[in-house]
């Protein structure tokens, strides 16, 4: 299978767009959960190709965007105290309350950009006189690798390694969005990669309770139009259930080995979401028996608290209540060069996607 060409095929995409047009009779609002899907829609110019009756609402599924300000400040605090901080790339430009990780690096902090947390364990082994912290950001997708890094460190008795956990979970966020009084979403495109890990059993009760179609969807143009078609089809027929568009990757039960690793070291707890606030049972924290790997406890930084930037409406953007260009700061006081909030920085953020790719 040629993933890069076949799922970006012009004719196939056109035929699904035609199907959507032939099926739709009423306007529908569909939220794509994942920032990768937002990116795919905007980067490929799909939003302009969809019938006017389909309105896509961009969801909260950008891990960088929902990481609260205080966690960035915590990472910076570590960096400024001589700790080697390792991070995924798109986290480093996000502004904390005073500066970003990138600025802290310019001031002398030892910041490493990595693709894999396992690499951070190697850095810890190679720098035994230094403390090494991995900034464990992400949804369920990155949790297995982050968990595995802790298991590796434990197995190899790497004592100078810990993780700054900022893991969030998709289903509680969907529920928080649906419970919001301003919510007007008719269907969800579920986040394909998250479901590749976790499966999609948890979504059936959601679809049932809120009477809302949930289509587990991939990221390529063809995935997206097919997912949208499946959602429109359910909406027009008045049914609401969970369907799997991304069956080439996602199994209903998920990836059992990955889930096992997650459950070994993490437990579910409350988490603060940037711009949204605390959502009960919406994230992972390290289990008691792995607390020696918890950077917040190890360095006593749990009490760093900072208010969110009042000029940034990231919360409303992440809940899909407002579109990026409806923000008075968009493209003016807030640009990727001088971002007020995370959605303008991360490549998966709705604001950055709009700024970079859309509206001619």
């Amino acid at each position: 299978m040629k993933y890069l060409s076949e799922y970006r095929n012009l004719e196939a995409t056109k035929s699904y767009l035609k199907l959507i047009e032939n099926t739709i009779t009423k306007p529908w609002k569909i939220m794509e959960i994942c920032g990768g899907q937002t990116h795919g829609l905007v980067k490929n110019g799909l939003l302009d190709l969809l019938p006017d009756k389909v309105q896509m609402i961009h969801g909260p599924g950008c891990p960088v965007c929902v990481t609260p300000l205080n966690l960035i400040d915590k990472a910076i605090e570590l960096l400024e105290n001589g700790v080697i901080v390792c991070s995924f790339g798109d986290m480093i430009r996000v502004p904390g309350s005073k500066k970003s990780l990138l600025e802290a690096k310019a001031n002398g902090g030892d910041l490493r950009i990595l693709y894999s947390p396992l690499e951070a364990v190697n850095i810890a082994k190679n720098n035994p006189d230094k403390e090494v912290v991995f900034f464990a950001v992400g949804f369920e997708t990155t949790a297995p690798a982050n968990a595995l890094s802790v298991l590796h460190a434990q197995k190899e008795s790497v004592k100078n390694y810990s993780i700054l956990v900022s893991h969030v979970l998709v289903p509680p966020a969907m529920e928080a969005i649906l419970d919001d009084e301003f919510c007007n979403i008719n269907a969800f495109l579920g986040a394909g990669h998250v479901c590749a890990i976790m499966g999609f059993k948890d979504y059936y009760p959601l679809a049932e309770k809120y009477k809302i179609p949930i289509i587990i969807t991939g990221f390529e143009p063809l995935d997206l139009v097919q997912g949208i078609y499946m959602a429109v089809n359910q909406l027009e027929k008045g049914i609401y259930t969970v369907e799997n568009q991304y069956a080439r990757v996602v199994k209903e039960e998920g990836n059992l080995a990955a889930i096992n690793v997650i459950q070994t070291i993490f437990e579910i707890g409350n988490r603060e979401w940037r711009g949204i606030g605390e959502i009960p049972n919406s994230g992972y924290r390290l289990k008691k028996e792995y607390q020696e790997f918890d950077a917040e406890l190890k360095f006593g930084i749990s009490n760093i608290k900072v208010p969110e930037n009042s000029e940034c409406i990231a919360g409303e953007i992440l809940k899909g209540i407002k579109k990026p260009h409806q923000c008075s700061q968009f493209g003016k006081a807030c640009t990727p060069q001088n971002p007020l909030g995370a959605p303008m920085v991360s490549s998966e953020g709705a604001c950055a996607a709009y700024y970079h790719f859309s509206t001619i």
């Binding site: 890069l4 990768g36 190709l49 891990p63 693709y115 970079h356």
Partner: protein, 341 residues
């Protein structure tokens, strides 16, 4: 040149002192390698004669790692500046060469770099006519930095300027993009992945010269999309000319392995650095002939027209996506950052 016979294994602060050790390094390595009538004067500088307008370009090379798949910092320092001079519509003739070396650099690494500078200079027909070597304390550099300044004679038929670009002009690129950036990326600490992607570093001055011989002032612009990639260069041009640029995603020449690597790392190839790639903007009636000439040169086998200048969406680059949509292509802002997932 045998590193073992030099009497020193590493470069140290003494080699930058200006005294006997500096002389030793210059005589045994630099003058010996680059010997030519200008350099052999061993003067503070060189005096050269030009018959036409001259084009001058300077660039500093700080790449890490200094040795990478497909090349090293030395040949990059020559090709980069040679190409910048060529992009002015000039024939590169001379280069200055300045090293800033961090003490402790292995002498065999230094010799390897110097040799590739010599090879690259010979391949592009330029002579090294002046230079400088400084050594800084350990920790104050990153093994070696190189600055080169290139001097070239402007081609008599050339009239390269954004002012000449008209609506309808075609935008042509000489080959696969994003190779250099992805080759470097694949070897960076923490990002290593197995690939056979090689840097595309090479000189394109002879091809540029051939194009000017053949098409003269119907060629309106040359530009090499190095850092910031194709997207940044096109965005700059659109702003400079106050016209629109439209490009087609399915025409962008992208080698499969590079496309896959970009996909895995979450990078957009339009923003990835190139070294041996250039774009030319030409009058539409010569576009086919330009492409044919370029395809017959080994530096342009994969030449393709990727788009044109338009009278709509002024100052902006718009890309027709493969699936029939449109998007704006903005310039790169900071460094391209690998994504989380």
């Amino acid at each position: 040149m045998d590193a073992k016979k030099l009497g020193f294994d590493t470069i140290n602060l003494g080699h930058g002192s200006g005294g006997i050790m500096t002389r030793d390094l210059l005589d045994k390595i630099i003058f010996k390698t680059f010997s030519n009538p200008y350099l052999n004067q061993k003067h503070d500088g060189s005096i050269v004669k030009f018959n036409n307008e001259i084009a001058i370009s300077t660039d500093s090379f700080v790449i890490s790692p200094i040795f990478f798949k497909g090349g090293n910092i030395g040949e990059l320092a020559v090709n980069g500046t040679v190409n910048d001079v060529a992009m002015c519509g000039a024939i590169p003739k001379y280069l200055s060469l300045a090293f800033i070396v961090e003490e402790g650099l292995q002498i065999d690494e230094f010799i390897k770099i110097v040799k590739s500078i010599k090879d690259a200079a010979d391949k592009s027909g330029v002579q090294i006519i002046t230079g400088d070597t400084k050594v800084v304390e350990r920790g104050k550099g990153d093994k070696i930095f190189i600055n080169t300044t290139g001097f070239g004679e402007v081609h008599p038929n050339a009239n390269i300027s954004t002012d000449n670009i008209k609506v309808g002009d075609k935008i042509i690129v000489n080959g696969f993009i994003a190779q250099h950036g992805m080759a470097i990326m694949s070897q960076r600490e923490g990002l290593e992945f197995e690939s056979t992607i090689e840097s595309d570093t090479t000189n394109v001055n002879y091809l540029v010269n051939d194009l000017l011989n053949e098409f003269g002032d119907k060629i309106h612009l040359f530009r090499d999309p190095t850092r910031g990639g194709l997207a940044s260069v096109l965005s700059e041009i659109a702003t400079d000319i106050n016209k629109g640029i439209v490009i087609n995603e399915n025409k962008i020449p992208l080698e499969k392995q590079v496309a896959a690597a970009c996909e895995i790392l979450g990078l957009d190839p339009l923003y990835v650095a190139n070294e041996g790639v250039f774009i030319t903007i030409v009058e539409s009636d010569i576009a086919d002939a330009v492409i044919e000439l370029m395809k017959n040169d080994k530096k342009g086998i994969n030449t393709v027209c990727i788009g044109e200048i338009t009278n709509v969406h002024h100052n902006k680059v718009v890309m027709n996506s493969s699936i029939g949509g449109k998007r704006i292509v903005t310039p790169l802002i900071g460094e391209q950052l690998p994504r989380i997932c």
